[in-house]
Every structure is written in C-alpha cells, then in structure tokens.
Symmetry: C2
Subunit: 220 residues, 2 copies
C-alpha cells in the first residue's frame, strides 16, 4: 500500500491546494488522476469518499481524508517538522480560517455564475467576486504573503483559483489586474515558487475545458 | 475592556456551541445578547463582524473572532491547559472536522426547509435530515461521546440543534427518537452536563419563536 495517495482531477483548484501543500512539505505522494470525473468516477473515489463523492481525497496509510481545507490542516499537523504552513498563534490561525471560509463560500457561488450565467446575474457575480478579492487585498496589505513573510495556508488556499481568472475575465469582460493590482502582484510572486508553477495548469487549457463543460451541460 | 465577550442571540445554535465550550473550559466571559437581531443589530455586532454581520462573535482582548467552528478551535487552542476538547491525533481531528462540515452544510439547508416549506420539499428535507443523523449515529457507534470517552468538539458542535428537534418534529410529523434512538440517547447523555443544561433553551420556546419568525417572514 502506498503511504500517501492523492486522488484528484487536473482542473480542480481544491486538488491543486493539496498538491501545493504536499510539495511545499516535501512529502512524496502518488497522484491518481480521475479519468472520467463526470461520467464514471473511479472505484477508489467512490469507496474513499462515499458521502460527497468528490476530489480531492488524500489517502494516508490507507485512511482517506476528504475536503481540501481539512486535508491542508491534516498535512500541516502530520508533517509538523517540515516547513510550517500555519501560524502558531491562535488568533492568526482563526483569521486565516475566516478568510478561507469566506473565499470558499463566495467562489463556489460566484465562480460558476461568472461563466454559466448571463446579463444581470453574471454582472452581479463579477461584482461580488471583485469585492471579495478587494477584501483579501486589504487583508494582504503590504505583506509579501498573507501570513507575513512566509508562504502559508491562506496563500495555498487562495492561489489555485488564479488559473481561472482568464476564464472569468473572458466571459465577464474585465481585468482582475486592473481591479486588484496588489492581489495580482501577490499571485505572480507566489507563481515563482516551484510548488505552484508545477501545479497550476495553463489558464487557456482551463478556459477550453470550461467551454467543453458548458457544452456538456447544454448551457448557451 | 472585558477580557472575553460573547455577542450572541439566545435561539442561535451556533452561539450555544460557543457558550458550551467556554463553560466546559471554565473561561469567564461577559455575554451580550442582541436585543433586536432582525431589525436593528447592535453597533458592537456591526463593528466586530462587518462582513457577515452575524453572531456568534467572540471578542478576546478586544479582537473579534467570527464563525462558530473557528471560534471553537480558537477556544481550544488558547485555553489549551484546560480540559481538552479536540483530539491530539491529526486523523481524529480531520474526522471531527469532516462531520461538523457535513452537518453544517446539511442543517443550514434542511433545517429551514423543515419549518418554512411544505409538501414534497418539506418531506425531502426531513428525509435528508434523518439520513444525516443516521450517518452521525453510525460514526458514534457504541461510544458514549463522538471522540470516545470524553465530551469533545464534535459533541459540542452537534448538540445545540437538538433544541430544535421538537420544532422539526411538530412541523414534519415524525419522531427523531424513533428514527435515530442512539442519537437521542447520546443527546440525553450530553444534556446531563451542566454546560449543556445551562445553555440549551426550552424546545417549546424555540418552537414559539419559530412561529413568530414565520409570521414575520410572511410564510404560511
């Protein structure tokens, strides 16, 4: 049995979070890509996450852990001796958890509406999305990373969505860089890390894939 | 400035979580009840949680922490020397987080539909709710508490909803005890704790309040 297995799908930002965290920690793992996540989920996926039936799933010593934020915290707690991702200070931890929670609630709602809807609903989603990024920019302030001078859990949680920005920008006709220049400067800084550049897919490939998904779901 | 302040509203199960945790830890706190949560939220609430504008808010040394699950973890991390609420084992922690996450997603969705909707939607909500409780019963197994032999974070997170069972049962015409006897036996066991009996309101009062809310929202 492999010690660490990650079950994933290439376009999922939640899977990317886990990959980045494992690489940052220097944890060796076997990556298992779902071949057909829409039509036929693998036996391993269904057996390991029977309730949500979703990726990412981290299987450690045969025991599955589900939900990306839970996995990230698990990774930081298990491989404690390696580079730390999470502050020791309870207040800083609470703050990071708060922003991840807000981001996850917003993105699951706005992200889809930005490419799947039209007109007023699409505009509203774009507006909410930009507002959320501006709150995050404010939290970042002048620091290089969210936790200060080290690349941490909040950076890892937020970063993967940036590979969808080109898709959002194309559908909604706006520029994230223009709206949120400091957020984009942070994203570029993070992209220089090997863990990130090895993980994030080409934004054009993500866009093409979104077009395919729209077609498959019969969304005009 | 008070060291620990909890801003809350009596009928919120999320606020009850925080109260129970503080009492279990033996932390002294000042409780500030929102007088009119629907029409006029307090200055303190709006200033302390400007993004969500919701209770509970824990204010510790003047710094606000929001979102009940984040607050529970903060409490366990800050008052570490007191009775421990969360396992030291990363896998057990991940498991507790998983069930709380599932429960929170289900309850916010099903709970409201059980008293605010009718017919097929209400039936579907009841069915999903019972399914969720059965999953939790299965996780509990034969243990006295979810973490084993001590009253922990998952118990605290789940328990407050039990004061709404009478409301759900009355609107949806079913018996939680009949559907999930082991879950109810666990709830009764937990209710013997002072932290719980001091915190949970009378289920009839909760039911009357739900009727008021329905009227206020003009739900038939």
């Amino acid at each position: 049995m492999d010690e660490v297995v990650l079950v994933g799908f290439w376009s999922s930002p939640y899977v990317m979070r886990v990959k980045i965290a494992l690489i940052e920690k220097g944890v060796e793992f076997v990556y298992k890509e779902e071949k057909d996540i829409f039509e036929k989920k693998s036996e391993l996926l269904l057996k390991s996450n029977p309730i949500h039936k979703k990726v990412p799933i981290l299987i450690h010593h045969g025991r599955p852990i589900c939900e990306s934020l839970i996995i990230l915290q698990y990774i930081d707690e298990v491989w404690k001796q390696e580079k730390q991702l999470f502050s020791n200070d309870p207040y800083d931890r609470a703050r990071a958890r708060f922003w991840i929670d807000l981001f996850d609630k917003k993105v699951s709602d706005c992200g889809r509406r930005m490419w799947a809807s039209k007109g007023a609903d699409q505009d509203a989603a774009k507006k909410e999305f930009v507002e959320c990024l501006k709150l995050l920019e404010n939290e970042l302030g002048e620091k290089p990373y969210f936790a200060g001078d080290y690349f941490g859990l909040l950076d890892i949680a937020l970063l993967p969505i940036t590979c969808r920005f080109y898709t959002y920008e194309t559908f909604c006709k706006f520029s994230v860089e223009k709206e949120c220049p400091r957020f984009m400067a942070w994203a570029k800084r993070c992209n220089q890390r090997e863990s990130v550049s090895m993980t994030l897919p080409d934004p054009y490939k993500v866009y093409d894939f979104t077009l395919e998904v729209k077609k498959r779901l019969k969304i005009e």
